[in-house]
């Protein structure tokens, strides 16, 4: 009986992770002083907001059955472009945001273009491009900081609208947009079809190449968005932005039910996954574990996420199937 309950929790992605979150928050509230304080919650929510977007950046590529190892590198580039535009050229930040996001999109789109054209697997292409982009970023900016960020921009990260942190509103709006994309639009449907079965998509008349390019482009755009929001939070643009994103970008969506094999994404799940990661890290802080161990925990959680993913995938192919294999 316990086994079937456990099975249901693993399978029904959102229920399981929500349960874990609620449990965790409850325990933290009871056993620690700091968790439920306004300051702590505020910081946690802000981190969740940004990590949700980072997670969605990877989620989009997972949706078409691909991977993007350069989320951090593209984010870093877009962030530095933003900083340069504001500080060196004095461009108003709204326009700078648009330009940075476009840059992120283009960097990602180029990646997708290479992958489709050369048919080299996404792993090596995005890995190599991550170094190319990061190297370019470091060289072009000579690793400087851009500190002259206008206060009005910093408000985005620091401020609240009707009591809700603006960062959270940003991430909700992004979630909504992508939810609509994947659930309501033809383009989103085409992307998911490509993720489930590229060949079947081609035979159905869906241009799998263009969906892959689009997915990488959107991934880059989201990375750029996450970078811009991080700059708002930090108050400065620096090249280290994005350097820690790779792991989280996988952990969040996979914990939340997005499949590694492609074709299924969960926007809400990615948010919950990001929440789980952030709160676990927060828990480590509150419990007093030295923060040097955090990476070890993140890695461990990611491994757990993979194990969950494997279980989910094998449940898809095992249970409830009526198999007819003809004698051929």
């Amino acid at each position: 009986m316990f086994k079937t309950a456990l099975r249901k929790i693993v399978r029904n992605d959102l229920a399981g992770i929500t349960f874990a979150l609620v449990l965790l928050c409850t325990l933290l509230t009871i056993f620690t002083d700091g968790f439920f304080s306004a300051y702590n919650l505020d910081s946690v929510i802000k981190n969740i907001s940004i990590f949700t977007i980072v997670g969605m950046s990877q989620m989009v590529t997972l949706g078409v059955g691909q991977f993007n190892l350069s989320v951090g590198a593209i984010g870093g580039c877009a962030g530095m472009i933003f900083g340069a535009l504001i500080e060196l050229m004095g461009i108003p930040y709204v326009i700078a945001i648009i330009i940075s996001l476009t840059a992120g999109y283009l960097l990602g789109y180029f990646q997708g273009f290479l992958i489709v054209k050369t048919k080299i697997n996404a792993f090596i292409v995005t890995l190599a491009l991550a170094s190319v982009y990061h190297g370019l970023n470091m060289t072009a900016t000579e690793n400087r900081f851009f500190r002259d960020i206008p206060n009005s921009f910093k408000v985005i990260a620091k401020g609240n609208l009707w009591g809700i942190p603006i960062l959270l509103i940003f991430s909700f709006i992004t979630m909504l947009i992508f939810w609509i994309l994947f659930n309501r639009t033809v383009t989103g449907r085409k992307m998911l079809a490509t993720g489930v079965n590229v060949k079947a998509a081609d035979y159905a008349g869906i241009d799998s190449g263009s969906t892959i390019r689009l997915a990488h482009g959107l991934s880059g755009l989201l990375a750029g968005l996450a970078a811009v929001l991080t700059i708002s939070k930090l108050g400065a643009a620096q090249t280290s932005i994005g350097s820690t994103w790779l792991l989280v970008s996988f952990a969040a969506p996979i914990l939340g039910g997005t499949l590694l094999s492609g074709g299924k994404v969960s926007i809400v799940g990615t948010f919950l996954g990001a929440a789980l990661m952030t709160i676990i890290t927060n828990a480590l802080v509150l419990v007093g574990i030295s923060f040097y161990w955090f990476q070890a925990f993140t890695g461990g959680i990611l491994l757990l996420a993979f194990a969950l993913n494997k279980i989910r995938e094998s449940m898809n192919t095992g249970e409830g199937r009526v198999l007819i294999e003809g004698g051929k």
């Binding site: 090596i124 190599a128 170094s131 190297g135 060289t139 000579e142 040097y292 990611l302 491994l303 993979f306």
Partner: protein, 340 residues
């Protein structure tokens, strides 16, 4: 048409040509690059610099071999750098915090490599063993191992290593041949022997070449996978410890940037990404080329981050060329079939 078919079937030297092409290509690139740098800087062609380059390449080659061993079997090991760091950190911690003689600590540090590799192999086999799983898993274990390094060191380096320890990284045989280089060559020869003369090496290559056929031939794929990751871990940990002997200190940053060039060296040298074929000499030369590049860039007073940029480009080029080659072969095969 007949002539074309003759050309296709007359590819008995293809393998040899392939190997020669790659090694030749790398050697050529090395020579050209060295000349180029030598012209813009007068300190490049000096004995001191030769020693410096030999030290760098001892690390790049070891790390490249660590990756190559896993690639040979059709997988990937993202955690090479992290294992290197952890090996060094454990060694350093043992030396500084316990009274263990440094020779012992080094051995234990290398055992960390065994341990980490075994963990990698074990998890990958549990998760199904596909190539994708191998890099996703080692991505996660990279974080775990790095996390442990950070946790042990609290981001503070271990200074003041014992004299003998530092000596390894500093000694030059006859004043010109760095001990690090000799150690690297020692490991490289072992790996060469592994693939040429041992059953395990062949089994790794068989799994990389055609996993299904390997299974049908009675090879225990899971066992092979775990072993190759253990070997990879040993190489990585050794690289980390060796590096720290030169550094004179141990910190958690060791190995942080190794992941990228761990691919570059074997790919340049002709090892296939999908596995099934290795080129040990090529990987060694690839490591040397990378060392030359990172050294040369400093001499030319170019921004050091150009190296990262170039490494990414090199990998793309290497894989792209390999893909072109594969496409050309496919086309030839088609022509052959249509003549039947």
């Amino acid at each position: 048409m007949n002539q074309l078919l003759n050309n296709v079937s007359d590819t008995s030297n293809k393998k040899k040509r392939f190997v020669i092409n790659n090694t030749m290509g790398v050697l050529l690139a090395m020579i050209v690059f060295s000349i180029f740098v030598g012209c813009s800087s007068n300190t490049f062609f000096s004995v001191d610099n030769f020693i410096a380059v030999s030290r760098i390449c001892s690390i790049t080659v070891l790390v490249g071999l660590a990756q190559m061993v896993v690639m040979a079997g059709g997988g990937l090991n993202i955690s090479v750098g992290a294992i290197g760091g952890l090996g060094a950190v454990v060694c350093g911690a043992l030396i500084k915090r316990t009274g263990i003689p440094w020779e012992f600590a080094i051995i234990l540090g290398i055992f960390i490599g065994v341990f980490c590799g075994a963990i990698n192999g074990f998890i990958i086999t549990r998760l199904g063993g596909a190539a994708e799983i191998s890099w996703l898993t080692t991505l996660a274990t990279m974080a775990v191992f790095t996390g442990f390094s950070l946790g042990i060191t609290h981001a503070k380096p271990f200074y003041d290593m014992p004299e003998g320890y530092d000596w390894i990284g500093a000694y030059n045989i006859f004043g010109v041949l760095s001990l690090m280089l000799v150690i690297m060559i020692f490991f490289a020869v072992i790996i060469w022997v592994l693939f040429k003369y041992t059953s395990l090496g062949r089994q790794v290559l068989a799994v990389g070449g055609n996993q299904k056929a390997a299974i049908l031939s009675g090879i225990n794929v899971n066992k092979v996978l775990i072993f190759k990751h253990i070997i990879s871990g040993v190489l990585a940990a050794s690289a980390g410890i060796l590096f720290s002997t030169r550094l004179g200190a141990v910190n958690a940053d060791i190995g942080k940037v190794w992941m990228l060039f761990s691919f570059a060296a074997p790919l340049i040298g002709g090892t296939r990404m999908e596995g099934g074929r290795v080129n040990v000499l090529g990987a060694v030369l690839g490591g040397v080329l990378l060392a030359l590049v990172s050294n040369g860039v400093v001499h030319m007073r170019i921004n050091i981050f150009i190296v990262e940029f170039m490494e990414g480009l090199i990998i793309l080029l290497a894989v792209g060329l390999d893909r072109l080659r594969a496409v050309r072969e496919e086309n030839l095969e088609r022509l052959e079939r249509s003549a039947i």
